[in-house]
């Protein structure tokens, strides 16, 4: 079976002195929820950006469904960046129209239902909304696609616990079991129960790629405890 995501000797350096990602070899199969875990500056976001074609690898290659990042891969990948990337002037309605126009797999009805449930007026511009609400809107747009791969970069960072619960609930309830989901976070306790696999990255190198069950059995502790042990300062 061909992998959904395959990284072969993938490296990225921003400066000659330091590698942000170094010789990564990763295979991700369909139908899995993968936690991409590591401390700040470990290379998680760099890897995610390379999956989405926003950064060009220095060495190696990355394949999504057999394609290098490009038009074909972007049809299949739904990406939530770590930062607010939508223009603040845009209304929710215009964003829904935009996603519907450019993504064939965008389910507008599903998005409307989620927006209604949050009691957000679709005619409101993003600039009138709180940070948490903006993050929810971004997540709704991303999770309303019927993609093969969802890549969420720090989706629960910087929001209050109630918003965090909503985000996790939205991810689980809209996630297509046929698809895979890569979720990058520091807040492991909040998402540990939904993960199938974890990839631990330190200084741009992969420390561990294992199923959550296997890791817990082998180490006799939760993923969160294991993370604290591996990345202890």
């Amino acid at each position: 079976m061909s992998s959904l995501v395959e990284c072969i000797g993938l490296s990225k350096s921003y400066t000659a002195q330091k590698m942000a990602v170094s010789s990564l070899n990763i295979k991700i199969e369909k139908g899995h929820i993968i936690g991409l875990l590591g401390p700040n500056g470990s290379g998680k976001t760099t890897l995610i950006k390379m999956i989405n074609g926003l950064l060009t690898p220095t060495e190696g290659e990355i394949l999504i469904n057999g394609y290098a990042p490009g038009v074909e891969s972007k049809k299949k990948v739904s990406y939530l960046p770590e930062k607010t990337y939508l223009s603040a002037q845009k209304t929710v309605q215009s964003l829904l129209d935009f996603f519907e126009e450019f993504y064939d797999d965008f389910d507008k009805e599903r998005a409307y239902k989620m927006i209604e449930s949050l009691k957000i007026n679709p005619e409101d511009a993003l600039k009138t909304m709180s940070k948490g609400t903006k993050e929810k809107i971004q997540l709704i747009l991303v999770m309303s696609r019927n993609a093969d791969l969802y890549v969420l970069d720090e989706p629960i960072a910087g929001v209050d616990p109630a918003a965090r619960d909503y985000i996790i609930k939205t991810i689980i309830s809209n996630f297509n079991p046929e698809a895979s989901l890569i979720i990058s976070t520091h807040l492991i306790t909040d998402i540990e129960n939904i993960l199938d696999e974890v990839i631990l990255i330190k200084d741009g190198m992969m420390v561990e790629h294992a199923s959550v069950e296997e890791l817990r059995e082998r180490e006799g502790k939760s993923v969160d405890s294991y993370f604290r042990e591996v990345f202890a300062c």
Partner: protein, 273 residues
Amino acid sequence: MLKKLIKYEWNECYKLIGLINLVVLIFSIIACIALSLLDFQGDNARTAFSMIFTMGYGVIYVTVLMAASFGVTLFIYIRFFKNLFSSEGYLMHTLPVKASELIISKLVVAYIIHFITSIVIVVCIGAIVLCIGANLTGDFSFVRQTINEIVSLELPADAIAWFVVYLVGVVITMLISPLFSALTGYFSLSVGQLFNKYKIVWGIGVYFLITFIVQIITTVFVVPISFSMSYSEAGVFISQSVQMMVSSGIMCVCVVVFYLVVNHIVSKKLNLE
């Protein structure tokens, strides 16, 4: 997808561009009304007032035209950078479209914007010239007289032929210069984003450098032509026609090279941090 991108780009741009052109139109209408009412042939005091008003308003009007032209160009550059190389780039570069479609959609809209702004400026200046002429002569008969004078000019046959070549060069330059202007900015900003730090500063530096290089190349090709021609009526036309064709040819080459470099950087060297 290209059509959708063009539509999206236009929707993002038309309001500000409409506003800039509206300001130009308002200033032009005020100028036309004032020029129709001013008295240039009355007593000394009225004529002096008319002259001072015309000069003062003329300075303001030229400033407005320059600001509009500069503003439009700057807007096109900022739009390109913001949409493709800032946080908005996370959305644009993850759309299932080719890099060339992203660039072409922006070029098409930049071209339309330049075209509309140029037409508005030319029409406004033309209207003001007509108003000045009508004020001085009492009616618009001077237009017919001027056309008659141009038509009745007796020029040598080869001078007319070269004048046609000159006009062709002017038309090509007019058609290609909006693309050249937009792509010079796109090229500079794209090269600037290859650097790890101070990307905008590098972009501005590349802009001045590339503008300087293009001017040097144009001068190197054009100056020898003007020295090699005779100073007869036909010689002047030939010289200017050849210069115009050469400079428009250099512009065409730059447009192709700039586009290829921008496309290569956006599709193969993107580093969105």
